[in-house]
């Protein structure tokens, strides 16, 4: 970790380089990054998820698109914590196959539904076009584009376009495929998201939402595999721990009557 003085010098140098490189269309200025709050993951990502960039997510198993979408929505919840909007683009077929985002569930998950705008498009190319336009416009902080199956329309060229658009507009682009695409793309990071068994609470009920993340490709650091949980109350990621999760105790009054108040 560099000291404050050297960091300042570094930033100055980067800015100087950026002015020289302006016409090349990319900049070395210190980027907007989104720390996930997970030391291991953030270290691998170089401090956090780059915001003006494209990230690809795919479920590890066919039926786990809910899990992959959950990870994308969790990132969106972190990114839109300031109240900005997120855009969720779905093709019609993807909506049929994997269901539509459910407002009450999003509310409970940590992403209030009024922050989300949904766009349903007929074809994958439309989704890519809309994604690019939204990234350029600066109107939304996060764009999630969901493509059915492997999303072959989002090939290297298309992802490159999205990357450039994200860089131009400063938006965070998340490309959600229903199956991993086996060819190379221009995405900054590529993740495979699998569901992991949660740590049950002491009543044997469901625990916190748990992801098994495989960071398969990372342009800015090493890849890795992480098991993380999402705390929807605090709206934060937690490293998976071995201790039992317990419900928060009421801070006033006896907790005994609440103990049985479980899952409606």
């Amino acid at each position: 970790m560099a000291s404050a003085a050297s960091r300042g010098a570094l930033r100055h140098l980067r800015q100087a380089l950026a002015t020289l490189d302006k016409d090349k269309g990319f900049s070395l200025v210190e980027e907007d990054i989104l720390p996930l709050g997970l030391p291991a993951v953030d270290a691998a990502l170089g401090g956090g998820l780059a915001c003006a960039a494209l990230h690809e997510l795919a479920p590890a198993a066919p039926a786990q698109f809910g899990t992959a979408a959950g990870f994308a929505l969790a990132i969106a919840a972190l990114r839109t914590a300031t109240g900005r909007a997120a855009l969720f683009i779905q093709t019609d077929f993807a909506a049929l196959e994997a269901g539509t985002p459910y407002g009450l569930g999003l509310d409970g998950f940590g992403l209030p539904m009024e922050r989300l705008i949904l766009l349903r498009v007929p074809r994958p190319v439309d989704a890519l076009w809309a994604c690019e336009e939204a990234l350029k416009s600066r109107g939304v902080a996060v764009v999630i584009a969901e493509l059915p199956q492997a999303g072959a329309a989002a090939d290297f060229t298309a992802t490159r376009r999205l990357t450039l658009a994200a860089r131009a507009g400063g938006g965070l682009a998340l490309l959600l495929r229903h199956r991993p695409l086996p060819i190379a793309t221009a995405a900054t990071t590529r993740w495979q998201v699998a569901a992991a068994p949660s740590t049950p609470d002491r009543f044997g009920g469901l625990g916190r939402t748990t992801f098994d993340l495989s960071l398969n490709r990372n342009r800015r650091g090493h890849s890795g595999r992480f098991i993380v949980s999402w705390d929807h109350h605090a709206c934060a990621f937690l490293p998976q721990t071995l201790s039992l999760g317990v419900a928060a105790a009421a801070d006033d009054g006896p907790i005994a009557p609440r103990r049985l108040a479980r899952a409606g």
């Binding site: 569930g105 009024e114 349903r120 498009v121 809309a130 569901a195 949660s198 999402w230 009054g253 409606g264």
Partner: protein
């Protein structure tokens, strides 16, 4: 404007034989000098509904029986009447006439009424406008006659009867007078001053009818023509002060009255308007009906007769005409932006912004493409208007075929809204405004209904608890009101350690029946420890009580719950395994049931639509929302469905 031979012109233009084989033996319609009649069944007999000039010359008249016509001329071509096609054609012609004025009224079955007040000077005066209109229609194969007059009634009469041949009726059958220059043309009509008052009045109150690009002077009466007005023949532009003179020699049928009335009038010796015009009105009305007198007064301009415009008249209009038609998309968009700038200036003056903008592209051959784009918030920015139409043109695609090019492009704001200028931040980008524009553009491309926001609804049925509302219509609600609404919601916030919540306030019927495993707080039994402290209102309030480490509602819901095969250890217990999309999952943890029943006030069919929901996690960690349909009854098979997936 009168399209004299609309029906037969349509068939001749189409050039192919209509399904006339049954009558005419399948011979195609040849050139316009072949007699052609159109027949329609009237009281069980086929009668002529329309004839062309050639057939007219042979003495065939509408109303004759087809059998009589066949007896006279066995070889005439016959076609079936198609009033619907005639109507569509009339609408298409009306579209084309929009280039002259935004106020085009239909006068079915074969006429159009155009209000050219304030528009005529743009075409070099009333007479040249009329000639242009007629010439345009003649080029396309229509026999049209047009007349310009102060009143609708007068124009109608002059257009149809302002010709000695017709006035004298059946005695002469010579073609229309050659000095008109367009021999096939019989008639178009057109009113002037009564609606010009109407228009000026509107302008005064700040309404519609403002033409932006053209800074038009107030309508002025056309100068009296040199040739005397005593002779109506060939004069289709009736000067303002000669309305009465023009009407006098015309037959009473020119007053748009029923044929029976004309017959009755003829029986008492009243044949021309001149015969009736000076008679006392009261006896006329008593004997021949109010309608006759009203028509007479309308023709004379003593009574007002408004024109009903076919299309809504835009509040603001700008347009541009081209000497040479343009066909390239870039040119069209450039023109739109240019027009938008003028439109914006007009709207700025009145502090309004456009909510619905329409571009009308007038093709040289008379076809009109209308492309509308809606916005979510009042818009007053030329570049953004252009951006909207970039998307609309891309979305419309090949349907908008420029053909030989467009020669008029008009941009109108159909719906406007008050739009106060906002202070823009010095720091640049305003996210909310950018977002509004993005929503408009996405809506222009894919349809406004495809860009949605989620709005909570006051119901417990999961699939109805959230509605997708077009984002363009609910932006304000979601940013401001929604939170306020939510805070009013009786079952809204429930911090675990907070105060009371409830299912059961007066507007919230008890739709969720607590099942044995569920402890649902009720308003009558405040939770211990909840007393005295108001509920904590946070920005992130949830409708659903979060009493578990995992969320209680799935993040994705299927529109139709998917059937799964599930087995439960006890009949109404949670499943121990289930098969979904051909994959078998063993349940590791389950929570539930959460019973959601039909809302009681809707349960009039008697079908118990009860679902017991379970949140289930498989051994691999897949978390889904399952429900068992209906109440358990011994012996009946239980059906299970998967309604949503958790993260």
């Amino acid at each position: 404007m009168w399209l004299r031979r609309l029906t037969t012109d349509r068939l001749l233009r189409a050039g192919s034989p209509a399904p006339a084989d049954a009558h005419a033996g399948g011979s195609g319609f040849a050139p316009s000098d072949t007699p052609l009649v159109v027949v329609a069944p009237v009281k069980g007999a086929l009668r002529l509904a329309a004839v062309n000039d050639a057939a007219d010359g042979l003495g065939l008249k509408p109303g004759m029986a087809l059998a009589d016509a066949r007896a006279m001329y066995p070889r005439i071509a016959v076609a079936d009447a198609d009033p619907e096609a005639d109507r569509r054609l009339l609408l298409a012609i009306a579209d084309g006439c929009d280039r002259y004025t935004p106020l085009v009224g239909l006068d079915p079955p074969d006429g159009l009424i155009l209000d050219i007040a304030g528009c005529a000077h743009l075409f070099g005066g009333e007479e040249s406008l009329r000639r242009d209109l007629v010439a345009r229609l003649v080029r396309q194969g229509f026999q049209a006659r047009a007349a310009v007059a102060d009143t609708v009634g007068c124009a109608w009469a002059v257009a149809r009867y302002g010709d000695d041949n017709v006035v004298r009726g059946r005695a002469t059958r010579s073609p229309p007078p050659p000095e008109l220059g367009f021999t096939r043309v019989r008639h178009i009509e057109w009113s002037k001053s009564e609606t010009s008052d109407f228009d000026r009045g509107k302008d005064r109150v700040g309404g519609g009818g403002k033409f932006g690009i053209h800074d038009y002077p107030p309508p002025h009466p056309s100068p009296a023509r040199g040739e005397g007005a005593d002779r109506v023949r060939g004069l289709f532009c009736v000067p303002s002060d000669q309305t009465v003179d023009a009407l006098l020699p015309l037959p009473l049928a020119a007053l748009r009255i029923a044929p029976e009335t004309v017959t009755e009038l003829a029986q008492v010796g009243l044949k021309r308007i001149a015969d009736a015009i000076d008679r006392p009105r009261a006896p006329l009305a008593a004997r021949f009906g109010e309608a006759f007198v009203r028509r007479l007064d309308q023709a004379l301009g003593l009574e007002d007769e408004p024109i009903t415009p076919r299309l809504p008249v835009p509040a603001y209009v700008t347009e541009r005409r081209f000497a040479e038609p343009i066909a390239r998309e870039a040119d069209v968009l450039g023109t739109i932006e240019h027009l938008a700038r003028a439109l914006v200036k007009l709207m700025e003056r009145r502090g309004e912004g456009a909510r619905l903008i329409e571009t009308a592209l007038f093709r040289t051959d008379g076809k009109v493409h209308r492309i509308a784009a809606g916005t979510g918030a009042p818009l007053r920015d030329a570049a953004r208007i252009r951006a909207l139409f970039v998307e609309r043109l891309a979305a419309v695609g090949d349907e908008c075929d420029p053909g030989f090019g467009y020669d008029v492009i008009r941009l109108g704001a159909l719906a406007t809204q008050r739009c106060d200028p906002a202070q823009t931040g010095l720091a640049g980008g305003d996210h909310a405004e950018e977002l509004a524009h993005l929503i408009d553009r996405l809506g222009a491309r894919f349809g406004l209904r495809r860009v949605t926001r989620l709005v909570p609804q006051d119901t417990h049925i999961p699939e109805y608890a959230v509605a997708e509302v077009a984002a363009a219509t609910c932006r304000n609600i979601t940013t401001n009101t929604s939170l306020a609404l939510r805070r009013l919601a009786p079952h809204g916030p429930l911090p675990l350690q907070g105060g009371g919540t409830g299912w059961g306030s007066p507007r919230q019927p008890p739709t969720v029946t607590p099942s044995p495993l569920t402890v649902t707080p009720s308003p009558t039994l405040p939770l211990s420890g909840g007393g005295g402290r108001p509920p904590v209102l946070r920005e992130r309030d949830s409708f659903i009580e979060q009493d578990s480490l995992s969320p209680t509602r799935p993040i994705r819901l299927f529109d139709r719950p998917e059937p799964v095969e599930a087995t439960a250890a006890v009949p109404d217990g949670p499943p121990v395994q289930f098969t979904w999309r051909r994959v078998r999952y063993v349940v590791a943890h389950a929570e539930g049931p959460e019973r959601i029943a039909m809302e009681w006030w809707r349960d009039d069919q008697g079908n118990a639509l009860t679902r017991d929901y379970f949140r289930v996690e498989s051994r691999e960690g897949v978390r889904v929302w399952l429900f068992r349909q209906g109440l358990f009854t011994d012996g009946a098979p239980t059906s299970w469905f998967l309604h949503g997936v958790f993260a």
